[in-house]
Amino acid sequence: MSLVNFTTREITCKIVYYGPGRSGKTTNLQYVYSQVPDDRKGRMVSLATQTDRTLFFDFLPLDLGSISGFTTKFQLYTVPGQVYYNATRKLVLQGADGVVFVADSQARQLDENVESLQNLQANILEHGVDVRTLPMVLQWNKQDLPRDLILSPVEMDDALNFRSLPAFPADALHGAGVFETLKAISAEVLRRLSQTAGGGRG
């Protein structure tokens, strides 16, 4: 849940990058970390296995500067994608203000994408949150791979985007689509926050 301090005029929001194993969640954060100036980011923490698979989470704090007079900070998290780690995935998802679903565009990973999306919805439900009200964007990662191995963005939309959410093709390894995705989810989260705050204080 967003932390809004009206006295100090600070907002802190939590964004979780979700998706099947090896879809590029950690790669997204690593790219963001490599591009953001030092004064706008904190230390990136990665709790990973010896084979560099996310074990618990990656964490990256970002300072987005002043938005509508509020110092805005985002905490980006990734979750482990393997089915085995569902218990810890649920923990990381708790309190998320927005979710980026990172899908693997390879045709052979379609089932994993579907399963992960269903898992996301189930875990959100377990936290008592209506998935329709949670800001979410989709990322079709690995669009740089050979055409015959992947589904196009249109095909990915058909297969996974039931709710017509904002979706972005990406090649996270080289950065394409990473910041577009992040900007979109940030805007969605802040828009939702202003709606909630406006409704609450109006």
Partner: protein
């Protein structure tokens, strides 16, 4: 309460440890949460959750240790009303391992810690030298995680 193992060399030390420490549940796992041996679990899904969370707690503690300038924390102890949880790592020829122990009021953290030290030494003595493994391929990682559960629960 059953004791089952994936790797045979863990069995004798584990059985002795469970008896001496009066542990109710024990999981021996790799830092990635892959289970090598267990005592007391009846369902694979319960064991999977506990192993994943136990490994995550150790990883988080390691990261916290780094942030405060410590080399590593040796062990963690959580005290509950009815149970305590002891979580600690140990070094073996097979590589570093994590042991999670759940115990009740019939024993104490002092006893668990004392016998854990003996258990860690026994594991170290019993472990075969780490076999030279190639890098774990990404597509095999998840299968490896699940393989030990299948072995432990006879699937």
């Amino acid at each position: 309460m059953t004791t089952t193992v994936v790797e045979l060399w863990t069995e004798e030390p584990l059985v002795r440890y469970v008896g001496q420490a009066s542990a109710r549940l024990v999981v021996v796992m790799t830092p990635a949460g892959q289970v090598l041996a267990q005592h007391g679990f009846a369902k694979a899904v319960d064991l999977m959750g506990v192993a994943a969370i136990g490994a995550a707690i150790m990883a988080s503690s390691g990261a916290l240790a780094t942030l405060v300038g410590e080399a590593a924390f040796g062990a963690l102890f959580h005290a509950g009303l009815r149970h305590g949880i002891h979580l600690a790592s140990c070094r073996t020829g097979r590589g570093p391992l994590i042991v999670l122990t759940v115990f009740g009021r019939e024993t104490s953290i002092g006893l668990v810690e004392f016998f854990f030290d003996e258990f860690a030494a026994a594991l170290h003595a019993a472990a075969p030298a780490e076999r030279s493994r190639g890098p774990v391929l990404a597509e095999n990682f998840e299968a490896e995680l699940g393989h030990s559960l299948a072995t432990l629960f006879g699937r």
